[in-house]
């Protein structure tokens, strides 16, 4: 079963993280993360999206993947933390986001 999910997650005291993902049988097939946060180096966001492919859409697995991304790349977020990315992904819902 394939489903398309999305979320607009506002990091507390920080920026907006917008997630659009495709999920197949509980596993992330592809994900696009956008928003008004800062991440240096900028190219690393697509690495994060890539790392999340084939990760089960569950807290433990998503958190592990994102924590690994930050420790492996030494990417620096501002207005967004590893935890915010986790929360944004986990809050993705099937119904269209009220824009």
């Amino acid at each position: 079963m394939v489903s398309v999910k999305s979320a607009d997650y506002k990091a507390p005291g920080g920026k907006l993280v917008r997630v659009r993902l495709k999920e197949e049988n509980g596993v992330i097939d592809s994900v696009r993360i956008s928003g008004d946060f800062f991440l240096v180096p900028e190219e690393d966001l697509s690495k994060l999206e890539k790392i999340l492919e084939e990760v089960p859409l569950r807290e433990a697995e998503v958190r592990l993947a994102i924590d690994r991304f930050f420790s492996a790349t030494r990417a620096q977020g501002l207005g967004v933390s590893a935890n915010d990315f986790v929360n944004a992904l986990l809050s993705a819902k099937e119904e269209a986001v009220d824009a």
Partner: protein
């Protein structure tokens, strides 16, 4: 002896794509040691400038852009979408990485330190401007300037825009502001949480006046002198190449 920085006023008012190409060529040259630390001032006519991580589809009201003749371009730095018009003053500061003004290489200290020139400039005009983390300059709780930046190519780069006399009604139309964002800030619309220099000072202020105040503000708070200069031939050719390969392309500006 005071350090001298280059002051560049090169702009392409009706070509936001070339403006953003120049915006990238300068920090590249500064990091490579091919150009001195530089401050640039410039304008765009009606343009939305998207942050590099933003989705054009989600952020832009293309219908309203068509009606108002607003173009859409993406910058190489993160942060949120901004609306530029001739009443908006853009500035950019490029310092070589490791410059004593910003020894820490985290973006929050860069924004704090390199927003000081704008804060100082606005204060000298009589505004109660204050830096508001993460990347805003506010007057009485309303945003008058936003900044973005990056640390790359061996450069600490900071740029910002100052709403001097911008048309906030168009700004409110062309940008889709997500409800979740406004709810968090407890205000009902983007127009209510931003202001302009003209509105705050209640007089006809030009972007040139703000630019001059900022030049003095920068010279004072960083103890440097700004000397008018131009781009090197190398910077111009890099700008043209970036224009061709990146900033003039919908793939960069609008996708995914």
């Amino acid at each position: 002896m005071k350090e001298t920085w280059r002051l560049v006023d090169l702009e392409y008012r009706d070509d936001p794509f070339m403006n953003l190409a120049v915006e990238e060529a300068i920090p590249r040259a500064v990091g490579e040691g091919k150009a001195p630390c530089t401050v640039r001032f410039w304008h765009n006519s009606n343009t939305i400038v998207l942050g590099c991580f933003q989705s054009a589809e989600l952020e832009v009201n293309f219908e309203a852009c068509k009606e108002t003749g607003t173009q859409v371009v993406r910058r190489f730095t993160g942060g949120g979408a901004v609306y530029h018009d001739s009443g908006n003053l853009n500035y950019a500061i490029s310092l070589r990485k490791g410059h004593p003004l910003v020894p820490e290489s985290d973006l929050q200290s860069v924004f704090l330190k390199l927003s000081e020139g704008a804060v100082q400039g606005l204060r000298s005009l009589g505004m109660k401007a204050e830096f508001q983390p993460i990347n805003d300059v506010q007057v009485d709780g309303k945003k008058v300037s936003g900044a973005a930046g990056s640390i790359r190519w061996g450069t600490v780069f900071h740029h910002g825009c100052i709403l001097v006399a911008s048309d906030l009604a168009i700004l409110g139309k062309v940008l889709n502001v997500p409800k979740v964002k406004l709810a968090d800030k407890h205000v009902a619309s983007v127009q209510k949480r931003v202001t302009t220099v003209r509105e705050e000072l209640n007089r006809d202020v030009t972007t040139r006046e703000v630019r001059d105040a900022m030049v003095k503000g920068i010279e004072t708070c960083y103890s440097v002198s700004l000397e008018e200069g131009v781009l090197t031939r190398d910077e111009l050719s890099v700008s043209e190449e970036l224009y061709r390969s990146k900033y003039s392309r919908p793939e960069w500006n609008l996708e995914p």
